[in-house]
Symmetry: C2
Subunit: 448 residues, 2 copies
Amino acid sequence: GNNVFVAPTVTPTSGEGGGGEKKSTINSELWHACAGPLVSLPPVGSLVVYFPQGHSEQVAASMQKDVKAPIPNYPNLPSKLICLLHSVTLHADAETDEVYARMSLQPVNPQQQNTTLLSTDYGLKSNNKPQPEFFCKTLTASDTSTHGGFSVPRRAAEKIFPPLDFSMQPPVQELQARDLHANLWTFRHIYRGQPKRHLLTTGWSLFVSGKRLFAGDSILFIRDENSQLLLGIRRANRQPTNISSSVLSCDSMYIGILAAAAHAAANSTPFTIFYNPRVSPSEFVIPLAKYNKAIYSNQLSLGMRFRMMFETEESGTRRYMGTVTGISDLDPVRWKNSQWCNLQVGWDETSVGERRNRVSLWEIEPVSAPFFICPPPIFRSKRPRQPGMPDDEPSDMDNLFKRAMPWLGDEICIKDSQFQNAGGMPGLSLVQWMNMQQNAQNPPVVIK
Amino acid sequence: GNNVFVAPTVTPTSGEGGGGEKKSTINSELWHACAGPLVSLPPVGSLVVYFPQGHSEQVAASMQKDVKAPIPNYPNLPSKLICLLHSVTLHADAETDEVYARMSLQPVNPQQQNTTLLSTDYGLKSNNKPQPEFFCKTLTASDTSTHGGFSVPRRAAEKIFPPLDFSMQPPVQELQARDLHANLWTFRHIYRGQPKRHLLTTGWSLFVSGKRLFAGDSILFIRDENSQLLLGIRRANRQPTNISSSVLSCDSMYIGILAAAAHAAANSTPFTIFYNPRVSPSEFVIPLAKYNKAIYSNQLSLGMRFRMMFETEESGTRRYMGTVTGISDLDPVRWKNSQWCNLQVGWDETSVGERRNRVSLWEIEPVSAPFFICPPPIFRSKRPRQPGMPDDEPSDMDNLFKRAMPWLGDEICIKDSQFQNAGGMPGLSLVQWMNMQQNAQNPPVVIK
DNA sequence: ATGTTGGCTAGAAGCCGACAA
DNA sequence: TTGTCGGCTTCTAGCCAACAT
């Protein structure tokens, strides 16, 4: 194809405009490994849809508090903003290793669309980056106790760690791995016991106490492209971290988010947001192409069946089946006609930990296609799907879409200042698109 | 006097309006001991002057970042707001034990002054609350090392701790003290060694590691009114704590503060702020009476000599002499005619750690009085003042002011809805006062 | 294949007075 | 009066294989 220039999602510096928060030197593969398999950041230079409501909910989730407060209305702040994504930098909290991304967004002013709006010459999301070799293990009580070391899953040790010299008795080596802040950690890796197993001994307890890990937290190791060992952590869903920064009230935080977005929207100036994938209940910066694909391709209806990806314990993915049980605004007063999490859903398997009961249209894969009532059997996967098994290949529906509407692919390439080439709907100007949004808020929705 | 009802500065609940941040169960004496001897919170129900600029600077100080960013202008947000102080609750950060206060402020709308604006029937600042017995010690290397315990200053142990049974050999007892979160800490208190000294042994190291204390940090003990032992900590000025909350950009924080204040000012609705006394470079919520006393009583001039209180190492106070070297806005663009920190000053003693080079008029005590060139010798303290000695009794100038203008006392009592009784200038209505503020921003200033 | 436990040991934590400052 | 140190003791951290699941 035309993927001659590959723009990395991460820009190594963050020194523009309002920034200066902190320089990003984070390894991108490690960041994504920590963020989880479902998190993908929109490519720099592309158009995205920003939902202030979802942004607020991220703040709400990081406190343990609901919004519903005497927050001023921003009548000029719509429930969604189309923005140009200027930059994305990856970060990790110095205290907790929590990963987050800093994005600079510039609201697109319809009047300016024919000027040099899309002056960045390209923005590309490479979907075919190889998933790096990695493993993820949830720490047991024994792993975190002071009594011993870390028991390494056999597969993991053989896949990720440098091979041991098995002529030694017992086989031992020194392991070195860098964390998100590029700090080096050293472990003694030994293969011993009856039956034999891989263990990390000396150095392990320093790591556990240094990172303040507890049973239930997870550790993950990956090898980067230079086959250097990297390590990250994921904490269990403990009580929200930032009880409050002791310097800023929750109210001010909410207001700050909304005021910043409203001001940026009014002036078409860039603003800065933080996206914390493991705190946010749902993404709130969506590639415009993904949004359009979902809104204009899916026949949405009550009772509709769909599938949706979730993350597994071991950082894999699997799909769950669900049914749309309601279509309504999450906050009909403040965010009327927002499409962010406006679907109430039920799940086929109620078994394991409660799943979200509100999702957005672009998060789900309808099982009834807009063009076929049921996909022809020839497109179905050969082996029967097993519940609980990893399910990583693209879904049948994805393939269907790609055949039916090749212009809606996952790869977006912006080559000039034309709206439609930046992810917009084909044949529509941005002004037309936004008029559609205002006049008919849920265009192709059919309520049975 | 008429101090029949004594309103505590702390309201035990915080469940009003936009609140719900966290319930405050903090011991007021301990909070103030941790905050330091110079921190006094305005009484609930009184009028205060709020400086958005100072509030911004508190946020700036808690990050390591200057403001100067693409922050929208709030043309309707003046450099100072007169507010009714609805509530004050005391808090302590769960992670760091940092103390801070949550204040609910309602901007006073001049049009409403004759209505039920001051419906709270009183608001009283009792200045004669006895300073509780306390001591404060900066931890040494030995105190924080794992090699031993804590060496208790002799005076401190005898004044604060329960008396030992000196018939025992050696005298020992178990000590229990609660921290700001009401957690109980237990220490073995022993009097031994050659020469004899008070030590905390068993339990001490748990405390040090639990609170993550290092040499240079301070610990303080007080006895509350029930002679229960309480303990607090004060950290040395390490790098700012909240590097950023990983969920909110600095920009949004600044904007949030300003937008919240602007919205509240426009609608005369309450808003919430956090005041962190050990982070803020200077108070930004000033009792209106204190402000007026300073603005209308002090003949301000370049080269003026003054004294100002500072906190000592051991949490005492002493005064330093200084000279006004300049009068200018700290930020003439954004905060024109703000009186917050608009005095540039130099200090007589340049010796110990750099003192602030910008202060506000209400923080200083002019040495040349408006009524006397030099106070008559009869008012002078009998014993000569020694530099470096604690200096706790009211200054001569304070006494002079109290004799000359008894209505400007430290105790403010609001009995009805009259502006002047709530701390305003005698004989002036609030509208007149605000007009003065707008027309002649620095009324009695004389530039030589 | 891997979580937990008892046994053992090396080394850190921690109590003490000596000795300054 | 109190900070630091050497000496000594105690106890936990931490390595090991056995055993259980």
